[in-house]
């Protein structure tokens, strides 16, 4: 346990000792600010239209402001998270510090979970910054905090999936650029996997068949977020995310182990 936290602490320190943490958090909050402004602007206009009796009948801050905002934030994660995960194993392998970790009296799983917790902490810090924007809404309106909390829990789990996949990809290579690019592609594939699922709504107008459709829909990691965004904690989605993370970490452990055998 203490070994795991030692690794996690080292990872966090490494993020903040290098420019990575500042670049990632800084750029993410700038983008988030732009989205925030754009959506707030749109929301306010809707509100004015409603006041004049032309717009929608009810205007919920959670539904019309926070949800689209967080969904947009998820798109940004597609670009930001590979930057966090690409170094996890690739850098250790390149600089030879992998030899230190693997010859220390700690297990591969402790290293793995430590690294995962480190990356997750940085990601949580990143989400924490966005809370500052959302808190602004409380000053001028009355959003509900419970759906907000579930949405952030969903975001955390969703990001955790990306981090576990990113670590897996990072364990394949010594080259951080390769790891980053591959991670991005894998993320994007997981993102759009349901686009080819539906027959009528399918992007390419093709049908994948009823069974495949269901499987593809289930694999899409964005669909599982929807309920969290609405304020529902459905164990179905919770289990999907947790097992996705576990599976990703398991594969990473196998990948690191096989690297040892191959040399």
């Amino acid at each position: 346990m203490s070994n795991m936290f030692a690794i996690a602490q080292k990872e966090i320190r490494a993020y903040f000792a290098s420019p990575i943490a500042y670049v990632v958090i800084g750029l993410f909050s700038i983008l988030f600010g732009v989205f925030y402004y754009a959506i707030l602007d749109w929301f306010v206009k809707q509100g004015m239209q409603m006041a004049m009796g032309m717009g929608p009948q009810s205007l919920n801050v959670n539904e019309r402001m926070i949800r689209p905002l967080l969904q947009n934030a998820m798109v940004m994660l597609l670009f930001v998270l590979p930057m966090i995960t690409m170094r996890t194993y690739a850098e250790e392998k390149r600089s030879g510090t992998m030899e230190l970790l693997l010859t220390s009296p700690i297990t591969d799983v402790q290293i793995l979970v430590g690294k995962f917790l480190g990356a997750l902490t940085l990601y949580a810090a990143m989400l924490g910054v966005t809370l500052v924007y959302v808190m602004g809404l409380f000053a001028f309106g009355t959003p509900e905090w419970k759906p907000l909390a579930t949405a952030y829990l969903g975001l955390l789990l969703f990001g955790g999936c990306f981090i576990s996949v990113g670590m897996l990809v990072s364990s394949f290579t010594k080259n951080q650029i390769v790891a980053g690019m591959m991670t991005f592609v894998v993320f994007l594939l997981l993102w759009v996997i349901d686009w080819i699922a539906g027959s009528a709504t399918g992007l390419f107008g093709t049908s994948a068949g009823p069974v495949v459709e269901e499987v593809l829909n289930y694999l899409s990691i964005t669909q599982h977020f929807d309920d969290f965004g609405k304020g529902i904690i459905d164990t179905k989605h919770l289990i999907f995310y947790v097992s996705f993370i576990t599976f990703g970490l398991f594969l990473t452990a196998r990948s690191v182990d096989s690297e040892r055998w191959r040399g």
Binding site: S2, N3, A6, Q9, K10, T97, T103, P105, W261, G263
Partner: protein
């Protein structure tokens, strides 16, 4: 302390280490000698538990490295070829982190780090970032990292590579000091280093052990005859026959010629000291005796002899040959 039994490691079809067996006793310094690519690093990586062997096993301090990795690793310190440093950490932060993952108790950590920094003389660099250190300091921080948890076994992969001569001497001194409480395996391709620091040498080439012995024995055994170098101030005469006539001399050969000085190599059987007779014979002729010294086979020559014998089917195994020569 370390037992390597029939260790074989293959990378795909390439066999890096082929059926290597040796043991290292407690408190001993073992030199691991071989040309580049001989399998030194691979063997060390298996000993330290970085990679599993394809066949055979390694026992460190009573623990099988493969079956009880955590116990074995707790008793092993390892300095890889490139010191495993985190460039963004300061030396002190780095060592504290290593102390944590090596299982040094939290109460002892600070004192242990300070102690090790003093031992390796890196105290004045404690707050520098590891990435900004010179090669010599990196190497020393690497060594500090290896001895931090006071391991029984120290595995050092080319500990003096890339250091300047003064640092090399200091590092060797440090290694010798450590030998008392630690069992040390160090690899190198610098031969004098082995002669100076190691009690025993394992010569490995193309993944196979070709010789295991003390450096002294190796130098003695492999040279069956004693050779003297004699330099005379007598350019115009041929001294070969005179030298040949000295009792005990088996062979005389012309070695070099500088102006009037002529050098000869005189071979004799090993158990006989013929220096006195040689000198007497030369002086009796009225020639000037400029130099008279024994030529001992250097480790370099032994190394070349041992490592190039591979592939000559006629010759017996080197270890066998050295034993024959000693008789």
């Amino acid at each position: 302390m370390i037992e390597v039994q029939h260790l074989t490691k293959r990378y795909g079809r390439i066999t890096a280490v082929d059926d290597v067996t040796f043991r290292v006793e407690r408190g001993e310094i073992l030199g691991f000698l071989g040309p580049n690519g001989a399998g030194k690093t691979t063997t060390m990586r298996v000993i330290t538990g970085y990679m599993p062997p394809t066949q055979g096993k390694v026992i460190v301090a009573g623990f099988d490295v493969f079956d009880q990795p955590v116990d074995a690793k707790r008793r092993t310190g390892y300095l890889p070829e490139t010191p495993p440093l985190y460039p963004d950490m300061t030396v002190r932060e780095y060592l504290t982190f290593v102390a944590k993952i090596k299982g040094v108790h939290s109460g002892d950590r600070l004192s242990r780090v300070a102690q090790v920094m003093k031992k390796t003389a890196i105290g004045d660099m404690a707050d520098r970032h590891c990435g900004k250190l010179s090669k010599g300091y990196r190497q020393r921080v690497g060594l500090a990292q290896a001895i931090l948890h006071n391991p029984d076994v120290l595995v050092l992969d080319e500990p003096t590579a890339g250091l300047d001569p003064k640092q090399i001497i200091e590092t060797r001194q440090l290694i010798k000091e450590l030998a008392g409480n630690h069992t040390i395996v160090l690899s190198t391709h610098i031969l004098p280093e082995v002669a100076q620091t190691c009690q025993r040498v394992v010569i490995i080439t193309k993944g196979k052990v070709v010789a295991v012995d003390t450096p002294e024995n190796l130098t003695h055994r492999l040279s069956g005859a004693e050779t003297m170098y004699v330099q005379l101030d007598a350019a115009d005469v041929d001294a070969t026959s005179v030298l040949q006539a000295v009792p005990g001399v088996t062979r005389v050969g012309l070695s070099d010629r500088h102006g009037t000085a002529v050098g000869y190599e005189v071979e004799s059987s090993r158990d006989q000291d013929i220096r006195r007779e040689l000198a007497a014979a030369v002086v009796a002729r009225g020639w000037g005796l400029l130099e008279l010294r024994p030529l001992r086979m250097s480790l370099e020559e032994i190394f070349l002899q041992v490592t190039t014998e591979e592939g000559k089917p006629e010759q017996p195994e080197t270890t066998g040959q050295t034993e024959e020569a000693a008789q």
